[in-house]
Symmetry: C2
DNA sequence: TATAAAAATGAACTTTGTTCAAAAAAGTTT
DNA sequence: AAACTTTTTTGAACAAAGTTCATTTTTATA
């Protein structure tokens, strides 16, 4: 019995998340139905609620998995022998590629909204920082003028800006960057944000 | 009878959207309930469906209004006597301020997801381009190396990147940029993206 | 084998969106 | 003004989903 759940329950939880993940990947989080999950997982409707708070909790579990896979993808994208510029571009390209290849799952992370009053559990919040941390070292090298809080702040800004470009591109009801141009535009963005400073006038 | 709706229906539609808008501003789109709208608007439940497809349609109407107000806010933010750099920063600051001051309404735009198969009506899609268009002139001035499609593409990239930074900051389950630092970080981003090129090496 | 604890079940309840036949109101014709 | 037609409004009824919980079944323990 680990994590407050017996082995039996752990297995059930895993099965439920597996099924939910497949459904989100296929049809988006909006297509998730408790009854469908129960049927596909081969359990009774009520069983789901013995391992999960509610449907939002199911989506949050799926989202945590996606974030962890994204983290792995980013780590795998970093070239062993590249310089800081290479690393930056590889991370950005990795992000773009992951998003495009996991569209529904990736979108589910950013479109989930909880009812007023509810907030995300700590185990889920913990899945975000690793995404940022990989940026800090190469950014520090390229922007030696930044350190400490300013550096970590800028890393988040850079991450968020790349995220925004991908996000808008995928948005579907917008004059976003077409996906053919995504990599190039993101590269330009990374380029601009990592180029060493020559004392801006304002 | 304009727009396919009689005056009577137009008024009902307006009343419905008014009520919905207030509710989204107050509690987010997740708090929208058809029965609440009917009660507050003083009409029967079924009446709503005589002027609107479904609840998504209601949210889309609210979102269109928000986009139009955002457009106005951006136009109003541009200084009459500023140079291109001033205009760029004013637009970015305008976007940040609008988002922070209209958090729930602004969030509703970007978290709405339609069921598979449905797509947004043209009248809603038309509300996005005006947001981008204001960027093109000043960007063209600052980046004379860009023109035509490349220029409009870069404008969208710039818009989207700023959006991403604000979006993450507001995300709530993330190491985003804290709102005190938002304006400064967005300025740095705009700065980087508008600084004239000095022939990047890669 | 008997007893206790844990797990699984699915019917029932709740909330919400959506439809539609009927009633009411407004408009038109004679 | 009365009769008729069209438009609008209504709310009961239905449907789809999430959630609960008393009961049953399974598993573990004595």
């Amino acid at each position: 019995m680990i994590d407050g759940l017996s082995k039996k329950k752990q297995e059930l939880l895993t099965r439920v998340i597996d099924v939910a993940e497949a459904e989100v990947a296929e049809s988006g989080a909006i297509g998730l139905k408790a009854r469908d999950i129960a049927k596909t997982a081969g359990v009774a409707l009520g069983s789901i609620y013995t391992v999960v708070e509610d449907m939002d909790d199911v989506v949050t579990h799926v989202n945590s998995r996606t974030l962890q896979r994204l983290g792995s993808a980013l780590r795998a994208a970093v070239p062993a022998d590249g310089d800081a510029v290479d690393v930056m571009h590889a991370l950005a390209a990795g992000y773009v590629t992951f998003a495009l290849e996991n569209l529904n799952l990736w979108t589910a992370i950013f479109t989930q909204t909880l009812p007023a009053g509810k907030s995300y559990p700590d185990w889920h919040k913990a899945d975000y920082p690793p995404l940022i941390e990989q940026i800090i070292a190469p950014l520090s090298e390229l922007r030696p003028d930044l350190e400490g809080d300013a550096l970590s702040l800028r890393a988040r800004t850079l991450f968020a800006s790349v995220h925004g470009v991908v996000s808008m591109s995928v948005f579907g009801r917008f004059v976003g960057v077409p996906s053919e141009a995504l990599h190039a535009e993101v590269n330009a963005l990374v380029e601009a944000m990592t180029r060493g400073l020559e004392a801006p006038k304002r």
